[in-house]
Symmetry: C2
Subunit: 223 residues, 2 copies
């Protein structure tokens, strides 16, 4: 072999990483194979040594983006379990920094509507990752039962992703900032004070106004 087995795996991973950024920035059909390969330091002809088709890369790249979000959220909830972790997630999600850097942000807000129009493979992958994300949020959500926590998680995810899509569509000006701050305040209020049912855990109230992952623009998942 011209290159070692690890070399190929590294190249493959590099293409997937770069693609996950460019696809989130430009949309599902916004980047071509040639540019994707160039970004990874290669020429377009070598693409098919790594992927069966552009669609196969799309699936891997979007899955990668969502895995990064999931890992990021897990890290946050490990540092601050329960409602405080949820609050940290929401707080970092609904920021101008996240809005203005979709390439390193949430794939649901960037690509969700488009993925819903893609082939069965992409849709299945996306649905499975969505379930994972709901599970991560539900594990920290308030609620007397597992069902109540899951409901809380789903509603919070819908509110977060909807607000981010609106904020991006609103253009980045005052209206856009308003959307972010209003929804952030409301989601945090829901999350920390929610007296829906008799809570199993005591309600923690840490770090409501900070934006932990959005401070410095290091190239990491913000979602």
């Amino acid at each position: 072999m011209r290159y070692s087995r690890e070399h190929k795996a590294e190249t493959h991973a590099r293409i997937v990483r770069k693609a996950s950024v460019l696809l989130r920035e430009r949309g599902v059909h916004g980047v071509g194979v040639a540019e994707l390969m160039k970004e990874a330091g290669l020429t377009h002809g070598g693409f098919y040594a790594h992927f069966a088709s552009r669609d196969a890369l799309l699936i891997e790249a979007v899955a990668h983006a969502m895995d990064r979000s999931i890992a990021h959220w897990r890290k946050i909830t490990q540092a601050h379990p329960g409602q405080a972790g949820l609050a940290d997630i929401v707080d970092a999600y609904l920021t101008p920094t996240h809005r203005d850097d979709p390439g390193y942000g949430c794939a649901i807000a960037a690509l969700g509507a488009e993925i819903a129009r893609e082939g069965a493979g992409a849709r299945r992958m996306f649905a499975a990752k969505l379930e994972e994300m709901v599970a991560v949020l539900a594990a920290e959500a308030d609620g007397a039962t597992a069902e109540a926590a899951r409901n809380e998680a789903i509603a919070t995810l819908a509110l977060m992703t909807g607000a981010l899509v609106l904020a991006r569509a609103a253009g980045g000006g005052a209206f856009s900032n308003e959307i972010l701050s209003i929804v952030r305040a409301r989601a945090l209020a829901d999350t920390t004070a929610a007296p829906k049912t008799a809570a199993g855990k005591p309600v923690a109230k840490k770090r409501l106004a900070s934006t932990p992952a959005a401070k410095k623009p290091r190239r990491k998942a913000k979602s």
Copy 2:
């Protein structure tokens, strides 16, 4: 002139109407000029007698879709002013019927993320229509002040659109239905029972579980 002035206006409007459906179904770049014209009963060459570019049509077509939503919402709130009207809007929005028929549904959920990546003209139009939609909802929203009502409207819009995007991305199965029903229940609870501040108007409670616009699949706005 070969055709009367009204004839041209009718043809123009027909292209815009058909385009607004196909674009919502397939995405901002999912339909070509040739197919769009064929759908309107014409050949592609005549396109530029009506529009300066494909982009110009995109802007008109998405604006049309959002105007239909706005008109539809106004009609509902005229029939049931206040919280009851808001409840009717949310109720019809978060249905499998709306989820499964994006071509006649809400342009925010179908195209919002993509429009955010388009040119300045499309983004400006979209932001302006978003403001209109917020205003329509805010006029019926509960709240001691205009600001509180506007906040309520923005949060409700984010929750609605986010849930619809998630439900479509989740694939249409049990998980997808779960998203719709959970968020619908929660949004309706927020809307009708919300004891946020001393309400100016008495809270009406009509037709909570019905889906007025989604009963028969006549080709009308569902959003």
